[in-house]
């Protein structure tokens, strides 16, 4: 028995099993998520609180030109939730790096990138869960959308791309961090970005400099594109600008994340 199993491992070329390995990694991180449901609550509670605050407290004073402020607010709230969510991706990566489990995986005959991809898929799934929870709360608060299935799919696609882009940014932070706090802290500015955009108030009410920044940063085009899709209105150029931002960030962050990963695994 011993000999038989031992010779089994003695093949010349090592076959890679990308998909089954990624599936194992995904299964692992999904367990991490379901076993720390408080993470999902933490991720959703802050955006939901903001939504309540803005709709029921500040909402009356904000003039957006739409009769339903929840409809106006929701896209920005979703982006804030995603920005919060990916800080946990950075944290999970950092913990893996610290605990030596990375080393174990890297000393095994599995493609090294599968470890990273497992985290990326987990990030997509867990953020999708928080997005759904927040949309449900928004529905209770009076959010309504005339959008058809195609528009909803487009919204899901943009949100997924946005998550992917930020996840790779999170990977750089998690792999490069020296402490757990450092791994999570990088997302604070990302969470803040929607405030200086058209997510809460239209940009024309802002002073010129702020307005120039707000109108040219990624969140505004993404928010506007999602808002238009959900309102079943023409999206215009915004969707292309939004896609370009997401793709651009993904590609640049991916290159740096892989480099950071190789440095760690070297």
């Amino acid at each position: 028995m011993t000999m038989e199993l031992q010779t089994e491992m003695r093949t010349e070329t090592v076959k890679k099993h990308y998909f089954s390995d990624i599936a194992v990694m995904l299964g692992r991180s999904m367990r991490h998520i379901t076993r720390s449901l408080d993470t999902i609550i933490t991720v959703t509670i802050m955006p939901i609180a903001m939504m309540l605050l803005f709709v029921y407290v500040f909402g009356g004073a904000i003039k957006t030109g739409t009769e339903n402020y929840v409809n106006y607010l929701l896209p920005g709230i979703l982006l804030i939730a995603i920005a919060t969510g990916i800080s946990y991706t950075a944290l999970r990566l950092f913990t893996d790096k610290q605990r030596g489990i990375f080393e174990r995986f890297n000393s095994m005959p599995i493609a090294r990138s599968t470890v990273l991809w497992g985290h990326v898929l987990t990030s997509l799934v867990s953020n999708a869960i928080s997005v759904v929870i927040i949309i449900l709360v928004a529905l209770i608060m009076g959010f309504r959308s005339p959008a058809g299935i195609l528009s909803w799919l487009a919204v899901a696609g943009i949100l997924a791309l946005f998550t992917l882009a930020l996840t790779w940014v999170a990977a750089i932070a998690g792999l490069g961090a020296k402490s757990a706090d450092g791994a999570g802290a990088f997302s604070y500015p990302l969470v803040f970005l929607p405030f200086i955009s058209s997510a809460f108030v239209p940009t024309d009410s802002m002073p010129a400099v702020v307005r120039a920044f707000a109108e040219n940063q990624p969140v505004t085009s993404i928010v506007e594109a999602i808002r238009a899709l959900l309102a079943d209105q023409p999206v215009g150029n915004n969707i292309w600008v939004a896609l370009a931002w997401c793709l651009g960030i993904t590609i640049v962050a991916y290159i740096f994340a892989i480099r950071a990963y190789k440095r760690n695994a070297a």
């Binding site: 011993t2 491992m9 099993h17 194992v24 030596g100 080393e103 174990r104 000393s107 599995i110 070297a266």
Partner: protein
């Protein structure tokens, strides 16, 4: 005898620190090889190079006949690493940890493999508890069990008993001996001479970047000055006291 590990002229530096300055040694198939060295001697660095986690700066390193640089994947397929710090997933249960590794090794019955190892390492009862709740000794055992998934021909144990209590230490020793009996080659590092003495067929001492001694225990002993006879006043141990009390009681009864 077949060589499982062959290291020639191995050098490795981190920035300004020259850690390995030309290390040479061989490990034969089936033997227990102990690399002895104090803190910072470069034991972990050596193990990491052998396990393809670090690249050597210079020299040739072959493991199971494969070059660690050119054939890293074959090396990974043919050995298993238990690093200095337990590499278990604390969120998962003991069983889930083992199943995960079995799946990554593409074994046919991951569940069965896990159950067998849990039993062998006395972890059956704790199998469905999260590894975070394990004691240091249990975690180390799980860690080693994870390395045995798929029955690798060669296993690296980097300071397997550091931080364990005497009982845990004995357990690990027993397990290493069993492994070796079943034909697995064991490469272990340690800071303790007595551990190397207990376990190893061959001992190498790494000091200031070089192997300064390499041989069997008998060969090493012949290098040391002959044993001196010294008289030392011995304090009674708890066990002695206990035995003495028991003995007195029994005398009274008789």
């Amino acid at each position: 005898m077949e060589k499982t590990i062959e290291v020639k002229g191995l050098q490795k530096s981190f920035k300004d620190i020259e850690v390995l300055k030309g290390v040479d040694f061989e490990v034969k198939r089936g033997e227990i090889f102990a690399l002895l060295g104090s803190n910072g001697a470069g034991k972990t660095t050596t193990v990491k190079i052998l396990a393809t986690l670090l690249k050597p700066d210079n020299g040739t390193v072959t493991v199971n006949g494969y070059d660690v640089l050119a054939k890293a994947d074959n090396v990974r397929q043919s050995m298993s690493l238990t690093g200095q710090f337990a590499a278990v997933d604390e969120v998962l249960t003991g069983r889930e940890n083992l199943v995960m590794i079995a799946k990554l090794r593409h074994l046919n019955q991951p569940g069965q493999v896990a159950d067998e190892l849990l039993k062998r390492f006395g972890l059956s009862e704790a199998a469905d508890r999260r590894a975070a709740t394990y004691s240091g000794g249990m975690r180390r055992r799980l860690d080693i069990a994870m390395s045995l998934v798929g029955r690798p021909r060669l296993i690296f144990l980097d300071e397997p008993t550091t931080g364990l209590d005497p009982e845990g230490r004995l357990e690990v020793w027993k397990m290493v001996k069993e492994l070796s009996k079943s034909g697995t080659t064991v490469f272990l590092t340690t800071q303790y001479l007595d551990e190397a003495e207990q376990l190893a067929d061959r001992i190498a001492i790494l000091h200031q970047g070089k192997i300064i001694v390499n041989g069997t225990l008998a060969e090493l002993k012949s290098l040391f000055p002959p044993a001196k006879v010294e008289y030392v006043e011995k304090q009674p141990s708890l066990e002695d006291i206990f035995l003495a009390i028991i003995g007195k009681k029994e005398e009274k009864v008789n």
